[in-house]
Amino acid sequence: MTLFSLLTAVGSDWKGFALTCHFSATADGVPLAVADDTKPFWSVPTTATTVTITATPTVPTFWPTTVTFDVGNTGALTPAGPTAAFVTVKDLHGAGVVLSFATVVLSRFKDVSDDVLKLLANPPATRQGRPAHVLQDYKDTYGVFPPQDWDLDDKPDAHFLDLPNPPQVVQGVSFSKDTSVHVDAENVVLRLAGVVAPKLWGVSWPATIDRNDAQPTPILLFLRQGNAQYIGSFFSGDGLGPYPDNFDYASFGLFDDMAYPEVDPFNQPGSKGVPYQAAKAGAKAVTVHPVNSLNEDFGVIESTKQMGRILLELQAFMFRRAGIATPPTTLGKTAIASFSSGTHILARILASPDNRGETFLNDTVNAVYFLDAPAWSVGDCVVAALAWAGAPERDKRVRFYTQDLWDPLKKVLPSPLPKEPFLANSPDNLRTLGLVSRTSWIGFVKNAINVQLPAADAWQYVHHATAAMLLTHALAQDDFS
């Protein structure tokens, strides 16, 4: 019989490094006294059936964590509830005494999915001071808006890029409906503590990435367009809250990249539907969407050391929230996709002397994708990407998709190039150049939804459509296995 039960706790990160915290505890809802809350020592009443510990870090780069235990007849504590995998407890039993030593795992991420859903329900009433109908615009695109959850519903009438089976080195371009595409995934929005940016991270974790086997997670990191172009128009003003707590970051900055429109991406290619494209491509990868800020864009992850570290943290958080207390210690193969001016940010990351040779970028990142790099960006993108890729023995993949055959892109694949439109790989599948012109897209639009795309709108439409529908090709190139 236990005469008294004692409990102490320490904090750590996912990897087991120490983290100083202030601790508080309750037993059956009654607060337990503690003298030094950074080195707590509680006496647990022998009648207690449930004990709860909250660890609040002394630094702003981790979130507080609350864990709960069931108290057994011997006084031993067993982690319980949804945060059970965020604590380990070890017991030492003596005659009449049990000492429980709890290690609370704190994360740099927390789940804010519900909070961001609420942001989606609160669009601005004006743009640049003029009345706007933002909510109606989104309803027009998505049918139901704001969404009630982060599920990515089936799109039976959506057109997807056709993928020849078996894959071909050079393929033409066509689109078809595919009712078999199903995003069976856990979709969440996480918030990263204590950084200027990115604070929000969308995650779509396919059911096919089984966390029970604790294998390193393959990841597609999607870098949307840079936000400098939106200063004065989006993301701030008009009563919008500070980054990242407003409608624009939740919608334009995130939801639009994860979702597809109500019916078909051809209707509104501003919605990129990245998880849908991954599902269509059969890519066994988790898609990750950092939400860049208006002023700092992708902030800390311009350092690939930080990028890798944050993705490891994200992986560990997602494993633990799935109840797996032993996340992998490394990441699986990672691809970085970039769109529009985001391509130049990716080029900058690849070319940065601070990142050159860095372990994550050098060893873990396996592929880089450039989705319609603008004319002013494409030269830097090609130079940086090919330099990063290096010799074929490094097995690094570089894939460009474009609506214009800018001169620098001719370095990606040797001449002669196929007749446009084409999606062409090098024979070793380490390089891709996909060229689909505005003229071709106008034809695809006509075929798919029977609409004549106005020439004046074509560049902008195709710019987005390249990301919204041709990323599928890159994701089908087996870069994650």
Binding site: V10, D13, G16, F17, A18, L19, A35, D36, T38, K39, P40, F41, T61, F62, L92, H93, G94, A95, V97, L99, F101, T103, D137, D140, T141, V195, V196, A197, Q225, N227, A228, V263, D264, F266, N267, G270, N295, F298, G299, V300, E302, R309, S340, S341, H344, R348, S352, D354, P374, W376, V445, I449, N450, V451, L453, D457, Q460, Y461, H463, A465
Partner: protein
Amino acid sequence: MADLTYLMNADPAGAANQFYTLARQYFVAAGSTVVDAPTKGQTIEGIFNDLKTKKTAQGTINIVSHAVGFGGIEGPITLADQTNGRTMTIADDMQDALANKTLAPPEPGIITDKTRIVLYGCDVGRSLNFLKLLSLLFGNPGELLAPRRLSMFKQDGTTVKYRQAQSWTLVRKVHLTPAGANEPTGGWPAFRTQFVKDASDKFGRAAILSEIDGDHRFTTILTTAASSATKAIGPAFFLEETLDVFPTGTQTAKQAADSIKPLSNGDPVTATAQSAAQVDDTTVVTTVSGTDAYPAKPDKSQYSITLILLAQIIDQDVLIAEGPGYARVTSSKGLAPSAGPKATGGGAGSGGGSGSGDADLLQAVTQQLLAAGVSQDDIDTLLASTPTGDATEDIDTDAPAAVPVEGDTGSGFPPTLETA
């Protein structure tokens, strides 16, 4: 296995300071096997000889010794040293002994990586070099711990408690009290006032750095501690330590004094105090040299350096683990923290209320678990699972200097196309 406790000496007959007598009572009450010092005093060689007779691996070995923060414990290294009149072991002695292999440690199997050696004496733990040398001399036990503070055994009713004291040291060229007197020249009130002023000047900078208005708070702390202090051991008291300088060879006493190289009562402090309350001898080192020596005899045949300490007892059980009270050197992973032996009648955790009290409770439980048959290995395993390192290391929170691209106007909203 019961702890093994070696007393390095015995109190002189009639001595006011009953250090060894009280220590003996303390450890006997706690069930430790106490080995009294021989008539001439104990030596390290004497300890080794006794250990060899045990012929078994040792757990905790306590060594009770007067010590000084300037790096010395009572009792020489070898019996030969003792015969030659040596009464102390200092770092240089151990360095020589190790270099010359004067004294071999007990054979393997007696001192092991599970052996914990704990010194009970005064503030010798402030010299890491001293501890490392002593650990080497003992053949690299699992860990060796020594107090960073003044240490004492305190009679409390019928029991004896082990306590440490916070101290503040000043260098003086006069004894605390004139020979035969019980109070300083000018009386205790004037002495206290001057001591507080001088100590505030010496320690004040560290106090200022430790917290806003730290110097004023420090002076208040010091004034309170000194307010009733005398030579009598009480909650606070004054203590004199004397370093006598002996000439060697043809040296005169003055030459010997002048030859003294700077000597400190601890390693340089690299971490600042976090509050004025932490500003003391553990956070401000005192260094003396030949210029601090003064003629101890009217005929100048002997010089001395006098240190006056104001001490204030911390009336809490002492945590025998790396921390503010103890320094540790280790040759293996840490062993379970210990509250040391518990005096009979002394309740665990009776200090109440502080973090130290919590730690003491942990130790008390650990002791009970050990007594209940939990193995030291299990406790070590538990401790080894404690997170180490720093989870916050190398986390960047700010963006790199790179600025967003200018002239990027490429990504407006595409038009929405209604399906025909």
